[in-house]
Amino acid sequence: MYAVEIKGLSFSYLGSSKPSITVDELYIEEGESVLVVGKSGSGKSTLVNCINGVIPHMISGELRGEVVVMGNKVKETPMSKLSTVVGTVLQDPESQVVNYLVEEEVAFGPENLGLPPEEVKERVSEALRIAGIEHLAKRETTNLSGGELQRTVLASVLAMRPKVLILDEPTSNIDPEGTNSVFATLRELKGKKTMIVVEHKVERVLPFVDRVILIDKGRIALDLRKEEIIEGVETLVEAGVEVPSYFVLSRKLKLPRPDFEAVKKGIKEGKIALETPKRKEIADPPIMSASIKVTAKDRELVDASIEVKRGELVALMGRNGAGKTTLLKAIAGLTGDELKVTGSIVFEGEELIRRPIWYRGKYFIYLPQSFDLILVTTKVEDEIAFSLKKRGVKGFKQVVERYLREFGLEEYRKQDPMLLSMGQRRRVAMASVLASGVKVLFMDEPTSGQDFYNRMTLGKELRELTDKGYSIVVVTHDSRFAYEFADRIVVMSEGKVVANGKPEDVFKVSHKYGVEPPSDFLLRW
């Protein structure tokens, strides 16, 4: 019996004339692990939602064809039955968890099935063990890290003892260590469960899958055994999927499979020429330098200095809880009353530590990961004018025009920012903070949850901004992004700056602080 059988499937969302996914035939064997890749909006999530029953039981639309999971016709099987056959882990752990304690979250499913308390307990401890979070059982779900929370979700799904496990971008919103721990669990499960993993981190997931499926424009564009992946490299790159450079280079060297060492040797022997990312060397003195101590009531959170030069792109990296966000928030004046901030923040010679948030906001601005929260008006042009008006800038209309133009937003000027696509919303958010005349932009994890294409677009946009003279500090976990675009990397650990310099230098030591160097760098090292 196949774990998943799909025949003649097509699904269109309500109000859409074109199907979001069309699959003529797809079979997944029991115990097989499949990696599903593709750009955002390619139809990956629609496909997995057809398998776990979310379509048609929760999302309605026009569904044709047949999907059978472990012998159950999805269309005709109620969710309660399906939930014991196929488990689903989604991207954002925060919105998947509803209960107060970890063990209660894990017990949620078995309790819903009406199982006797003894069996619920047994399943809970089993699931906690597999997910490696027995020590978290009594913890509150409100103060777990992203990785811990996502493993709680994973455990809660495992407690249903499903035969098929769907993981829809399970690590997109969590830090590298959390990602490692989730992947470690998946490695354990390989062969024991049928797994369908939707992921952007191809290189990381490849070791524990058997097969790779590429979805592009709502269709299966590629369906390869893992060993054959090299044959699909060009197609994957064209479809906007992140493929490590050495895969591409292995193909160039006509190697039978991706081989990191062989590529490295090839580079050393001069068989392949590599371009090194361009970095700015800025001689000017920094425009902003901050030396900050942040203390909570009983402990010190941050004791760090950071400086930024004009036109510089700085990547701020480090483990979760290293103090990156706290440092930037403290500089911007966004920390709550429960934290005490002391030290000095000098911007172009002016001391700002005693200045309130709106004053500091003239010079630098903080953009949170959920940048939507910055959008408070109902028109794009009003959003861009917001700061200018509040600060009483004369002739702000011309400034608004300029930013609409520069960010390619002219045609959307009268539209509601909240109704634009994610990429457009991010541009509106950036345009509206920069229009106010700030010189330094702090961005918190703008690369999280983004696919490769979006991250590369973001990187280019940020480069253009720094070329115009803005300085940008970006918190990121994405080593490849930092290597590709940053002029300088600052690594924090336990509230202190532990490494600071050019990416080439920093990546030589950064692994000690939880920042893994990207394979692009290792190839050249």
Binding site: T88, V98, E111, V120, L334
Partner: protein
Amino acid sequence: MKVNFVFQQPNLPPLVELAISWFIFLFGATGPIVIILAFVGIRGFLHITRFESGEGILYKLSPLTKLIIVISTTVAVSLTIWWFGAILTLVFWSLFFTLNEAKRKVLYVSYLLLSSILGVSTGFAFYTPYSVLQMAFNTNTLNVIWVWPSYFSFAGYEPYLTLQALYYGFQITFRFTAPMLAGLLLILTTTPSDLMRYLAKVKFPLPFIFALTVAMRTVPRIFDTLDTVVKLQLMRGLGYGKPSFLRPFYVLIAGLYGLVPTLIFLMKGAKYTAIAADTRAFNSTPRRTYMKEVKYTKADYVAWGLIVVLFVTVALLLAFGYGRGIPYVGY
């Protein structure tokens, strides 16, 4: 019955008097509270409305016991004389000292208590008819401490503010504060999931319990999100260049502007919450079971004993004529 008014209002020039009347009308006696609240801030309130685990006695009681305490308190204060409510208020207030991080919580809850006392008493005092005061204090003589402009009566104000009215309002306050503090203690010391389990035991419908669970988990997220939205607006120049005493005002404006973005942000996640619940068989059978059993400890039995004592006291008070000593009317 005729009312004798003894006029004791301070002798002030008419214009000043008018100005003060309007000031009280516009800003009320709660004006100073604005300043206090500006110090505590929104996050301060989070600390007295959210469960944090602790070791004190209240954390050991079962939610049902605490719920019974809350309801019994409500019953007790609505049956008895005002000072019994005041005593219960004091008892619950002092129980805040048994919580973890007690100092801060006591401080915040004291602000809340103070502002409630001021707010509720003036809320009653301005509107309570003289006939009620006559009944309440068993007197025909009322001491007038302030004379409102006659047109204030259009807003339902009584023509004069009397000492008795203020006293009356003050007494009424404790009908509200005792249950309020008891309720806060329940919330602060009970995990939301424990509460839900007890609700399930008394056959509260499952989807309602689920919605409440979601609500409980959402409360801190609302604060966090709204806090961010507000600060981002300030950072973008809201209130820029305005004098600092207007700061709270601009925080409030930012809060108003922030409501819609906050809701959009939270509601966007709803879809995924629903998928996560449905793919774990939520609401698939009405016979949902619970891993943890509902258990009572020694502390619960002691508490029930105390509740009995409370009702005996209430009965004694009623027997000795300390029932609803004042007509609970007004507002």
